[in-house]
Amino acid sequence: MLEGGRIGARQAVFLMVSMVLPTAFLFVASVTSHLARQDGWISILLATLAALLIARLAVSLSLRFPGKTLFQFTEEILGRWPGKAVTLLYIWWYIHMNAEIVRQFGSFVVSAFMPETPIIFIELLITAIAAYAVRNGLEVFTRVNEIVLPLILGSVVIIIFLVTPEMNMKNLLPVFEYGAVPVIKGAVMPAAWMGEIVTMAVLIPYLSRAEEAHRIAAAATLITGFFLAVTQVIDIAIFGPEITAGWLFPALNEIRMIHLANYLERLEAIQMGIWVAGGLVKICVFYWAAALGSAQWLELKDYKPLVLPLGAILLAMSITLHDSILDLFDFLGRYWGPYALTIFIAGIPLLLLAVAAARGRGGSPG
């Protein structure tokens, strides 16, 4: 076995939430308010539904091949060389996605807090820490996450209570002003984000009890969807759709609005904490998936030698992919959703499931 770790059901739910929420919390409201305006929260609910279906799909597919990851059973379904080609695509996707995430991480810290610091310095630090965690294996960053995620969710809840005086729920009216089309358009990006739950297909062999996978994926998706929808509602209630769509990081501006009794204010440090801690876990998950996938693709006995080279690629890509934060946002808002959704999150898994069923590969889904 390449990865000797085993994680329990609760650990897995936590990990899957941390894999999506920290970055989504910060970015999604801007894009959904731009497209769906005050109905953005409906977009999030739609996206949650879509993500539940995707989770169902990925887990069903994976459970047909007990003990095998996405990178292994693809070969079993499609045959050796076609399988290897598809797996290579997934490895590329994990590296590319992670490079985007590292860039988002760096962009946020530099734009909002440390404008004079070179972005590569911040990205280097986070990548180095992630590399260390990934070398130590799945169980290590899963346990870190068991400490981190409750803190993140706790601070989000506290923030929600503290900003209530600024909120005006009437901003959410009128509902469905522009009909269903903008709402569906607005759902694409969050669906792609939450659809990262497809990573369950890599994680399932390392669950202590694989039969709980359906429940784990559904629980993680619902928790993520709930927090995203609440954030969306709050941002619209505070700023209205026009201003929310204008901010780069609506959640940051939301926290900056907190001022209670002329005393409790300037709490962005909490936001920074959420971002750094949660972002680290998120980067670790995809980093680990990429390393594991590459090792399985190359049929190595260990993925550890691949961690540092992958880190170098990650860092280099994150710097070269985009010239500016505006380019990054344009890419995420316009292209990332369709690109990730149609190919990696829904397209290939559907195809794999169809082929597996047709060729009678794998056991019946659990």
Partner: protein
């Protein structure tokens, strides 16, 4: 041995990384901006005025330091706000730091020529905060920042406290941005000007008493789109507050129903405004329902309070006074500015989203012609500590 080497390597690397952050901001290297003023110069440039804190004046509270001015006001012109700031940086020995800015004031000329270009920096740059108070100066914004405060350390804090007391209509920067970005809403902000505020008595036999001038919030600046359309005075601002349904503090003064020529004053405890947009396929009108509750705290007359008839007469007079103020503001908005200052368009948008699409671009004209029907309900809840008048019966 290997472990020791690894540990040493970690120490060396750590020493390099942890000796300080890249973007550190040390307090003694910062010039903290307390208030900022933006004006338009006659040749269409931006004049930036900063009120900076002098940290030494904030240390301790000793009498000896009492005379040391707490602020330093600097001003410079440039093509943009940042351009002017860059020029200022040439003569300010510390880094200009915006995060603690309490107020942002825009001068009258700048506001009249379209405010957007003067305020974009404050929304876009990460340092200035959305919670700072946003005001429009009658005259030049720079003059406001050059003023002094008697009660507070700086005039910026003074104005901040005035705005926070919400006796008039004060908005923070976020509120202003939202109003500016929303169709069916015209931005408004508190008006600030320098007026004679009081007298500072001199020390005995040493100095004369000095007339003191200082900043005061004297009404509301009214925009049509992004340009300043005019002002509402204090009395009209009361009406504006009623129509926008903002939390109110203040006094309603009414003539005594029993004794003409004498007045009574009621302290407002709470008020509520419900605006119902109406549309019957042709015309647009609004039903405005105002509920006001107050305590009677002063009476020059001799009305018998416990009598129900007297109470009802007072309540009717209260309602009449509130409606009068509201109509005053409404008339000015409709006839003089032709601008919807009360977010009626936003309410209409929420109730009739389909119709809104057709009319949103000519909303201000429609608003100017719209009928508004008032129904005001007033309640006198308490009468201070007195149940009966204190004057003797005849």
């Amino acid at each position: 041995m290997k472990k020791v080497l690894a540990f040493l390597a970690l120490l060396v690397i750590g020493a390099g990384i942890m000796s300080g952050c890249w973007s550190r901001k040390e307090l003694n290297e910062l010039a903290i901006v307390l208030g900022v003023g933006v004006d338009r110069t006659p040749d269409d440039q931006v004049q930036l005025t900063l009120q900076l804190a002098r940290p030494s004046a904030f240390v301790g509270g000793g009498e000896a330091r009492g005379r040391e001015p707490a602020t330093w006001v600097v001003s410079e012109t440039g093509k943009t706000v940042l351009d002017a700031q860059r020029k200022l940086a040439l003569r300010i020995s510390r880094n200009i730091y915006w995060s603690h800015c309490v107020i942002a004031v825009v001068g009258e000329d700048a506001a009249r020529s379209g405010i957007r270009r003067y305020i974009s920096f404050f929304a876009q740059a990460p340092q200035p905060r959305e919670t700072m108070w946003f005001l429009v100066a009658r005259g030049k914004a720079g003059d406001i920042l050059e003023s002094r405060s008697i009660l507070e350390k700086t005039s910026a804090q003074d104005i901040g406290f005035l705005a926070r007391a919400r006796t008039g209509y004060s908005v923070n920067f976020k509120d202003f941005l939202v109003m500016l970005a929303t169709k069916g809403s015209n931005p408004i902000a508190a008006r600030v000007e320098i007026i004679g505020r009081g007298v500072v008595p001199g020390a005995p036999a040493m100095e004369k008493s000095v007339e003191e001038e200082g900043p005061a919030l004297t009404g509301t600046a009214v925009f049509r789109g992004e340009t300043l359309a005019g002002w509402l005075d204090e009395s009209e601002t009361r009406g504006l507050l009623w129509l926008r349904g903002e939390v109110l503090k203040g006094i309603i003064s009414i003539p005594s129903p029993a004794e003409p020529g004498k007045e009574m004053s009621i302290d407002i405890i709470r008020g509520r405004t419900i605006v119902k947009p109406r549309y019957d396929g042709e015309s647009v009108w609004f039903d405005v329902e105002i509920i006001v509750e107050g305590d009677l705290l002063e009476q020059q007359s001799k009305d018998e309070l416990p009598e129900r008839e007297a109470l009802e007469a007072i309540e009717r007079a209260m309602a009449g006074e509130v409606e009068k103020k509201a109509r005053l503001a409404l008339e000015k908005a409709q006839a003089e500015f032709g601008a919807d200052l009360f977010d009626f368009g936003v309410a209409f948008h929420r109730k009739y989203p389909k119709k809104w699409k057709e009319i949103k671009d000519r909303w201000n004209e429609l608003f100017a012609g719209a009928e508004v029907r008032f129904s005001v309900e007033a309640h006198l809840r308490r009468s201070g500590l007195i149940a009966k008048r204190l004057t003797p019966r005849e």
